[in-house]
Amino acid sequence: MNAAIRSVLSAFAAGGSAAAVTASPGASGIALERIVHRYGAAIAVNDVSLEIRPGELVALLGPSGCGKTTLLRIIAGLLAQTEGQVRIGGEAVDRLPPNERGAGIVFQSYALFPHMTVAANVEYGLRARGLPAAQRRPIVERMLSLVRMDSLARRYPRELSGGQQQRVALARTLAVSPRVLLLDEPFGALDKNLRLGMQIEVKRLQRELSITTVMVTHDQEEALSMADRIAVMSSGVVEQLGTPEEIYDRPRTQFVAQFVGHTNLLSGRLVHTADRFDVALDVGGTLSLHDPAPCSRNGAVLVSVRPEHLEFAPDDAAAIPAVVDLVLPLGPSVVYELALSSGEKVKVTLARTGGAPAHRAGEAVRLRLAAGAPVSVFQA
């Protein structure tokens, strides 16, 4: 598969029609400036500003109804924003209809034309742009081989599997060499086995073509694995924009901490002494932090700790007392669910090294922060 794509791409590089695919070094960035969108009285997108760099893959991640699809449709020009400006490649496109923006969108349902063959679907955009047949044919062939659908060119969409339909949708969009690629829940309709394969394939295509891509998803794993940067959205605003590592390790809001991955939220009081920050937890025990963020003010706080960032500690007054509730050996790791003195539950994930788990249900233990573990502190 890899070799096939590479060979096709090197064919482009070797002087194929420039209109085919812009694996251009001058890829276009997208700038969203203070976008607001209202549906009647309801506000779907509330003052969103985003800068998407040329060639970058940004995922808009959030629960349904957070405004991510609305934002994507605004970029595509399928929806006119109430306020704000969209720029593609530095050019304001707000007054341009969708067909003049250079934004190619792949819909969640793929939206293939059911009355046209695979080849006719891919050819559609080229036809609409008035390319003569002689120029259309080689592009269609290249696009189909790019997504490995050349053998099924004469099929109708209804004769294809979900993954195949998605490839055709991708080829159809890429055929008109859009300046930016927009993917609306691209893997939502695929079953789990297919999904990973297509994710790898799309990511590779995106890399090789270095096409600026915005992907809408509600699946955090998909966002974490595919995106260069993730914009986590909630109720119409971007809660945090950052690399997958930043989003996971340093969530800036409580929403991000809870939406992306699992987390334990522990309440306590932050006390800043001369050389360190201590959080005295309500359930007993103290966490010592170097650099509490985003909140470092003295007072009531919530500390977000990932399950894999807690570990069992020797009996120590500073460690958190807990009682083991459940032990779930999951192959490569063991998940412990523990009850704190307040009755709240926390989860701890440890690598499993073989043999029986170190602790059993009912056992009283103490927990501490793993060395160098990133945590986030929020004002309570």
Partner: protein
């Protein structure tokens, strides 16, 4: 499996019985009557068919009836498609109003609607009175009792039968398809003719079928609006059966009309099946 099919198959019995008694039996009787050479039904033979098919007057009546159906169908399509499309792009609030306007005529009998057209198109009808008052004409124009009057009246009367199937077909089209088309660089006309029209073809064909079948047999409208001047098959059948008392000939005319329409309907149906197969994912 077979046993279950048998058991559940019994559910169609009432309908099957109804069809047998009230559709197939009368039709068979009609066919039987048409196969007699004399009015007293003594001699069997194909004389009635031969008589019809060798007479230019008779063929003219058949031709003008089928042509009337064609005209009405085409004009209804030209008027109905834009109306259905308007419905599909209208905001939901207006969709309800439009549907009401489309369906409303169906709630009154076609006899009533035909009489309305008599009032509108008559010598002292609304159209003539208006034109006279405006001084555009000096003597009332003959609008009623013309082929055009029949076409106009039938178009209005049959319009809902065209619009409703097209509305259904348009509503079934994934709205993302036109958005995809637009974002691929197609303008709205290209999108309309390359995506919307082909995908609504099953509705168009269904509408044409209904309008055609219904307008060639619209006895009341054809007769009242067309007057005696315009002879169409349904009136011809009525005349031969009731006035001339020539039942075998009337039955033969009926069978010929039935088969002419059936042939057309079958062709349209075959076309519809092909387009339907394409537009279903």
């Amino acid at each position: 499996m077979a046993a279950r099919l048998m058991r559940e198959g019994q559910l169609v019995l009432p309908l099957a019985l109804f069809f047998a008694c009230f559709v197939f039996a009368p039709l068979s009787l009609l066919g039987y009557v048409s196969l007699h050479t004399d009015v007293s039904l003594q001699q069997m033979g194909f004389a009635q068919y031969a008589k019809f098919l060798t007479d230019r007057f008779n063929l003219g009546v058949l031709g003008s009836t089928l042509w009337l159906g064609l005209e009405v169908t085409l004009i209804t399509l030209l008027v109905g498609y834009p109306l259905a499309y308007l419905h599909s792009i209208a905001p939901p609030k207006w969709q309800k109003v439009l549907i009401l306007m489309i369906v409303l005529p169906l709630l009154t009998s076609s006899v009533v609607r035909t009489f309305a057209w008599l009032v509108i198109l008559g010598r002292q009808g609304i159209v003539n009175e208006t034109l006279l008052a405006l001084g555009l004409i000096e003597i009332p124009a003959r609008l009623l009792y013309t082929q055009n009057a029949v076409v106009i009246a039938l178009v209005q009367i049959e319009l809902p039968l065209m619009v409703l199937p097209i509305v259904t077909a348009l509503a079934a089209i994934d709205p993302n398809l036109s958005q995809a088309s637009r974002s691929l660089g197609a303008g709205s006309w290209r999108t309309f003719f390359q995506v919307i029209v082909p995908l609504s073809a099953p509705g168009v064909l269904a509408g044409c079928l209904l309008v055609y079948a219904s307008s060639v047999s619209a006895f009341v409208t054809q007769t009242l609006v067309g007057g005696g001047q315009q002879m169409f098959m349904p009136f011809y059948i009525y005349q031969q059966a009731i006035q001339a008392n020539n039942y075998p000939f009337a039955a033969a005319i009926a069978m010929i009309l039935l088969f002419s329409v059936l042939t057309l309907v079958t062709v349209i149906n075959l076309l519809a099946r092909r387009t339907r197969a394409l537009s279903h994912t």
